[in-house]
Every structure is written in C-alpha cells, then in structure tokens.
Subunit: 205 residues, 2 copies
DNA sequence: ATTTATACTGTATATTTTTACAGTATATAA
DNA sequence: TTATATACTGTAAAAATATACAGTATAAAT
C-alpha cells in the first residue's frame, strides 16, 4: 500500500471521523469546511489521490459516495471498557469520571443481567458470601431492588455494599460477616439512596 | 420502541443492507428502485415514520443523511463467546465441543492474563478461597505453573481445581476447605497433567 | 532552468437529491 | 358513515453535490 502525504492522511482521517460521527460520508464541501480549504476541488483532488492509492473507493455520480477500503485508524474494534469504581467513602456521585480507577475490557452482557460499572470491594463485610477485598462487583444502575438483593446504597456520605431488606419504613443493610452488624435505617429520619444492585462478581487471580 | 409495519421494516432493512454493501446510505430514489416503489415520496414517508419511531435519524437537507439509530438486524456485533466447561469427572480433553455447557459473551483479556475457557466449579473444596459451587473460574491453558497457583490438574480420570505445590517428585493439590484433605501424588507412581491455571473468577448473582 | 508533484483558490454547471404538494386506494376503527 | 392510518403515484422546484476547467504557489527532482 502506497504511503499517504500529510494532507491526504488528514483528509482520510476527516472522512473516517465524519463517518463515525454521522453514519454517512462527508461531501467535498464538508471536508473543506472541516480542514479549512476554500475550494471543493481541494477535497476532490485529495479524494482522487486516496482512491488511486487504494484507501477509499469513490462511487462516481453519487453524493457522499465515499467508502473506506483501508482504514488508517488502527481502530482495533475496541471492545467495551467497563469502568471500575472504588468504594468511595465520600458520597460523590458514583459514576463520575474522577472516581474511575481504571477500565477493564469486558462485555456488559456477560452476566444474566447487563451492568454499568464495577465496584471495587473494600473491607471484609461480605466475606461469607465469598466476596473478598478488591473483588469487582458488577453493578447495574437501578432503584428496582428486592429484598435479598446485593445492593449499593448511599447513606449520607458513605457508600456501602450489603444485602437489602426493607420492611415499611425500616431498611436493613445486612453484611455477610459475623463480626459486622446490620445497618438499620429508619427512612423517616434518614435518607438512603439505592445506587444499583449487583448482577455478578469478578476476581483476578 | 414502537413496532414497525411490514413496509417500514422492509425499508429499514433496505437501508441497512445498502449501508453494509456500499458504506453509505441510499437516496430515496435508490430505496424505491430496490423495493419497487415508483415515487420517491414512498421512500420518504417510510423514512419519516422510521425516524418518528426512533429507528433512524435523518439529517435534514443532507443527501443520504440517514443514520441507523436502532438496527433491526439482531446482528449483535458478535463479541467473543467464551466457552464454559463443566468439571467433568471423565478425563476427556477438557476443551472438546461436547464438554461445552454454554458460552458467555466475554472479553478474553478482561483479567491481567488472558484465558481460554471458563471452568464451572463443582463442590465446596475451595470455599475458603471464596470460590463457590457454580462459580466460573477463568482458565488459561498452560503447563507453566508455580507453587501457590490455582490450577486445573487431571489425575487419571478426574479433573480437579486446587492450589498447586510441587517438591521434587511430590505433588500436593491443596483444597481451601478444612473438611477436605490435600491430594498427594508421587509423580514416580502416578501421572498428573496440568491443564492450566486460573487467572480469574466470575460469578453471576 | 525546467519539469514534476503537491496543494491549493475560484467559478461554473450538470446532476443528484431532498422535499413539498396534490392526488388515489385500501383497510380498520369509531 | 366517517374518520384515520397505511401505502402508495406523479410532478416539480429548490437545494445540495460532484466535478470539470482555469488558474496560482511552492518545494523537490532532473
């Protein structure tokens, strides 16, 4: 495959970006606008060169008739990158960019239910449920939780992962460790926000 | 998402097929030609309906300004499907088609080390390591294992998941449960095949 | 010194394309 | 019976677009 000049490379990138953004290829004029050219012929010439070098195909007579033959974006079909969030003590909104520790290539549909992010477990309060420190619990953002679900709840400035049990105004957040005690919340006195529930667990050995 | 009429569905399919074939969306006239309509307005009306129902977006004023919002082709962008293998007692080659219980959409690189298949855990011999019955342990096929690794070993006709410890001719396969005892193998008397080692664990809640 | 390739501007036009408007026909629901 | 939704035909005009042609400028190659 022949090498591209700097400008040709820019034009190809422009086409690819436009395609990714809109779902259809740009016109000559749009390429010009994007790259600062003042004549549609500038874009035309670059497109012809790109066609000759085998990077694109041009359907003559068709508007926007450009198709990518050989992408220059190494663009490895990027798999989903699911965010990992630390169990932050400060009650900041759980899924904020600054709370994302890292990302893991992982299909959000690998469990029976889809999930939105991983929560990194701190402490041993769920050890008897086989949930260890630093395990990643897959959390689906929802407020639709049932008694017995493993849920992420925010109480004031603390976020916690526990079993959920609600009766009338009384909310119990139950750990799986004899050394820890159940958190009891009277919902008339204190607010509790259900951030989501666990749909699975992942541990790296 | 609203249901599509038969004709609307045909038009959406036509757009998707055209897009896959050429790399850019069709014009109204091209849709007509493909589906046998005689007026570009036929296509236009269907496209408007598809837009209203949220299946496509139309960039007004742009030629071929159609983008797919919700594909009707179930076409699930096929992610990697990692096989799940039961802990088969019969010592058949672990990764044979007939041993695959199911497959899970899952990136083989989600753990620190890549893996080849999931092993579905039977029994409670590793419970104190937080590995429960029916947990899926991600196995990398390798014979390069170190003492302390969690490994899959085949002894005669039995496959087992245990901690690995080897000293000279003596192989110990150590469980994580007080009620189970370590399997000791004298390698001069009995063969042991290391199938692989665990690089991670997955559990569905 | 002259060619050659790259990289454009500027203009113009034929063609493509969107899109509005005016109808027709049919089935289903009120 | 009268709407109302679906499903078109047919026409036409405005707008978008491709694309040809005539230039200018610059750097590198011959």
């Amino acid at each position: 495959m022949k090498e591209l000049t700097k400008q040709q490379s820019k034009v190809l990138a422009c086409v690819e970006v436009y395609l990714n953004k809109t779902g259809f290829p740009p016109t000559r004029a749009e390429i010009c606008k994007e790259l600062g050219f003042k004549s549609p012929n500038a874009a035309e010439m670059h497109l012809r060169a790109l066609e000759k070098k085998g990077y694109i195909a041009i359907q003559s007579g068709s508007s926007r008739g450009i198709s990518i033959v050989k992408s220059q974006q190494t663009f490895e079909q990027s798999p989903d990158q699911m965010p990992v969030i630390g169990l932050v003590a400060a009650g900041s909104p759980t899924l904020a960019e600054e709370n994302i520790e890292k990302r893991i290539p992982c299909d959000p549909n690998m469990f029976a239910d889809s999930f939105d992010y991983f929560l990194k477990v701190k402490g041993l309060s769920m050890i008897e449920a086989g949930i260890h420190e630093d395990d990643l619990v897959a959390i689906k953002k929802t407020t639709d939780v049932k008694n017995g679900d493993l849920v992420v709840v925010r109480l004031e400035d603390e976020v916690t992962l526990k079993y959920f049990k609600k009766t009338n105004h009384n909310l119990e957040l139950i750990p799986a460790n004899k050394d820890f005690s159940t958190i009891e919340v009277d919902l008339r006195e204190q607010e509790a926000f259900v951030e989501g529930k666990s749909v699975g667990l992942v541990r790296t050995h």
